[in-house]
């Protein structure tokens, strides 16, 4: 089954338009519904239909100024399937945060929809952590965010996956003026298949979108599709997109598609992608200071990650740094 199509498909043989999910990962209850006949469904359509069929966690969360909401989901033998639909309504002029964590150590199926409706003049911080280590597991998450006028969103997505197949779709709309969106993604994946499809539609004037992603891959296929779509009328808006990925072995693959769509001339957009390794010069310098290759790689990765960890609590930071260090030493 192929899912999570990009807003603008590109040549079929580039292998990035959509994401292939192995049949054996799809639970029987999904296989029996009609929507699986369509091989090009995006996660959102599928998710919303799925929720009607089998939804086991539905919640509406109203957030007011000063609220800090935390939701933890753990998969284990007693609960190995989660299809959640959570709607967050953030009141005007609120400063609040939401942290949602998913933990797994055994096989699971997850298909979630997080829908944020953010009022005007809000400061909203969202952290989504997936710390899953489970083979033959399917982890699907759709996030929809609608931002009010003058609101600021800071979204941190942290994926520490091992063995699973993961697909995330993020759709952000900024229909009003003067909103700011910061999206920071950290992906440290081992023996996994991961797919990100981020779509930001900029409609209002003077909006700012800043998308940053850092990844390190070990025996992993990673797709990163980041699209900033400047619609007509998004005058004086600014869009920045940056993706850096470290490939730690020759079995890993990083496929990237940082798309810019632009219908408005009076905007400032830039994007940059890189698969990075420490330059020979930098490595020589590190070696001359007594730092070996592995430690130098670890320092480099941590330096890339550090600017993306500002909204994370110490426990999560520690997890990220532990995993980054371990991955560099194991490869």
């Amino acid at each position: 089954m192929r899912i999570n199509m990009t807003p603008i498909p590109t040549c079929q043989n580039y292998l990035i338009n959509d994401f292939d999910i192995k049949e054996n990962l799809i639970p029987e209850f999904i296989k029996t519904c009609d929507l699986c006949d369509n091989t090009q469904i995006n996660i959102d359509e599928k998710c919303s239909k799925l929720l009607q069929i089998k939804e086991n966690y539905t919640k509406i969360v109203d957030l007011l100024d000063g609220d800090n909401k935390r939701l933890d989901f753990s998969f284990d033998n007693s609960c190995d399937q989660l299809v959640e639909n959570i709607k967050f309504n953030v009141a005007d002029f609120s400063h609040c945060s939401v942290t949602i964590s998913y933990f797994a150590k055994s096989q699971f199926f997850h298909n979630g929809l997080l829908d944020f409706s953010v009022g005007k003049e809000c400061h909203m911080s969202v952290v989504i952590l997936s710390d899953v280590s489970a083979v033959d597991s399917l982890d699907l998450l759709s996030i929809k965010i609608n931002l009010g006028e003058g609101s600021t969103l800071s979204l941190s997505v942290v994926d520490l996956s091992k063995g699973s197949t993961m697909s995330k779709r993020l759709e952000i709309d900024t229909p009003h003026d003067d909103s700011i969106v910061n999206i920071r993604t950290i992906c440290l994946a081992e023996s996994a298949s991961v797919d990100y499809n981020y779509i930001t539609r900029v409609l209002g004037e003077r909006n700012v979108v800043d998308m940053k992603s850092v990844g390190a891959l070990s025996h992993t296929d990673k797709h990163f599709k980041g699209c900033i779509d400047f619609k007509r009328g998004s005058r004086k808006s600014v869009g920045k997109e940056k993706e850096v990925c470290l490939i730690l072995d020759d079995e890993s693959k990083s496929l990237s598609l940082p798309t810019i769509l632009c219908e408005e001339e009076d905007v400032d957009i830039s994007h940059a992608t890189a698969t990075a390794k420490l330059s020979d010069k930098a490595m020589f310098y590190m070696n001359s200071r007594g730092i070996d290759e592995k430690e130098a790689g670890k320092i480099y990765l941590i330096s890339l990650l550090s600017s993306l960890m500002i909204d994370l609590d110490d426990k999560v930071k520690e997890k990220i740094l532990d995993k980054a260090g371990r991955m560099m030493y194991e490869n």
Binding site: I8, Q12, I247, S256, C262, E265
Partner: protein
């Protein structure tokens, strides 16, 4: 700039559409050997088997049943302009081809609709063993050499329109530069599609042998009609060990043209492939030249500009696959859109696990000249090596108010200041072209900007 020619004479115009009979008829009229006809028929099967692209600009307006795939002018190939029929010669004189040949080219080929009407090469290159002839002649005179390379770089199965190309190909150029020979003056082929509701399917095959070098220039134009025309040419390039090839193109198709051209190069050890591309015309272009760096230390560079005005959708870009070690690719792309035109950069960089110590840099700059145009950037990177460096940068924006203010403070009118900035934006490409072509390209830019900012 693009004018209708004097009423042309045609010896033969095929029926519109695509059938086995039409394909067999083209082959019979050209007196081809069976192996060539077999390729055409196999391609025809592929054309019917392959589906239309599900991405990129819409091709709904294109109907192959409205297109004549073979149009033979009433002239055989000559090597002296005086022998070319006046009405055809006039067209090429207006385009400046005979003068360019006299002034700075080592050889010229001129194709009118489906057939090459003029081909010539300087004596000194012949004595060095350089072969430059039209593709139909090469099939007869150098069958072994052609067989060795034909369809090996761009296979029949590549996509639907390349299958169409192989079914009805006609004309084009064949170049072989022997080992160690440096062709110091450029060779040029010019393609003129004159007949309305017709297609041009020329095949260009260039082999630059070990340690040799060549600069090849391709020019294209067509008069404008109310009905659509189709250009589905194919360019196969082979750059052998230590060889260098620069392939420059200035395309100025009329705005009723579907330009679905395919260009690909196989680059061997220590060889260099450079692409310089200016795309100005056409209604819809889908053009993505490609280099496959198979040899160690092979290098490629792409420098391209596209300019889309009203009613145009130019979907262009560059593809590169790194296979050899220490390979390097650099891409500089510029695009301008105005009057509701749409430009898209659609590219691919793929670095295979074998391509250790390889590097690639892609840079896309897009300028929008008004608020009704569109500009998209869709670059794909597919990195499969832990020991490769890849970086991509892209920018979209309008002409800087600051820069205009500065130029106006130096006494320039606003329109002149804007035109100067646009020419400066295009200069990385124009400076890579021979002077005469750079002047032509600037003239095209001025024409495109007329009524907008001048």
């Amino acid at each position: 700039m693009i004018t209708k020619d004097n009423s042309p004479d045609y010896e033969y115009v095929s029926q519109k559409g695509l059938t086995r009979e039409i394909v067999e008829d083209i082959s019979r009229r050209k007196g081809e050997e069976k192996w060539v006809l077999d390729i055409r028929l196999k391609a025809l099967e592929m054309y019917y088997a392959l589906s239309m692209p599900t991405w990129g600009p819409s091709l709904e307006e294109l109907n192959i049943d409205d297109i004549a795939t073979y149009v033979k002018p009433a002239s055989s190939m000559k090597d002296n302009w005086d022998e070319v029929p006046e009405n055809i010669k006039d067209t090429f004189v207006k385009l400046g081809i005979p003068k360019a040949e006299r002034d700075y080219l080592a050889g010229v080929g001129a194709q009118y609709d489906s057939e090459v009407v003029y081909h010539n090469i300087k004596e000194e290159l012949l004595s060095q063993g350089v072969i430059y002839t039209d593709f139909d002649s090469a099939l007869v005179e150098y069958p072994d050499l052609v067989k060795q390379y034909f369809t090996k770089c761009v296979p029949l199965t590549e996509h639907k329109f390349i299958a169409l190309h192989y079914a009805v190909f006609s004309g084009g150029s064949f170049v072989y530069v022997p080992r160690g020979v440096h062709v110091t003056m450029p060779l040029q082929s010019y393609f003129r599609l004159n007949s309305p509701e017709s297609g041009q399917f020329e095949h260009t095959l260039i082999i630059v042998d070990e340690g040799a070098s060549l600069h090849f220039i391709e020019g294209c134009s067509a008069p404008k009609y109310n009905k659509f025309n189709l250009h589905a040419g194919c360019v196969e390039l082979f750059v052998k060990k230590g060889g260098t090839l620069r392939y420059s193109t200035v395309e100025n198709w009329s705005k009723n043209m579907f330009n679905l051209n395919t260009k690909k190069a196989i680059v061997e050890e220590d060889a260099v492939m450079e692409w310089v591309s200016g795309s100005f015309g056409s209604h819809i272009s889908m053009l993505y030249p490609m280099s496959i760096l198979v040899g160690d230390r092979a290098r490629t560079e792409y420098t391209g500009i596209s300019f889309a005005g009203e009613g145009q959708n130019l979907d262009t870009g560059f593809k590169v696959i790194h296979v050899g070690k220490d390979t390097n690719s650099v891409v500089h792309s510029r695009s301008l859109s105005k009057g509701g035109g749409k430009t898209t950069y659609r590219g691919l960089v793929r670095i295979m696990p074998s391509a250790t110590h390889s590097s690639s840099f892609v840079d896309c700059d897009n300028l929008m000249l008004d608020d009704i145009s569109k500009s998209d950037t869709i670059p794909v990177s597919d990195i499969r090596s832990s020991d490769a460096t890849f970086s991509h940068e892209a920018k979209v924006g309008k002409i800087s108010d600051k820069a205009i203010f500065y130029l106006m403070s130096r006494g320039l009118m606003e329109s002149d200041a804007k035109a100067m900035i646009v020419r400066g934006f295009a200069s990385p490409i124009s400076k890579e072209l021979p002077l005469e072509y750079a002047v032509e390209m600037n003239r095209l830019i001025n024409l495109e900007l007329e009524g907008e900012i001048q």
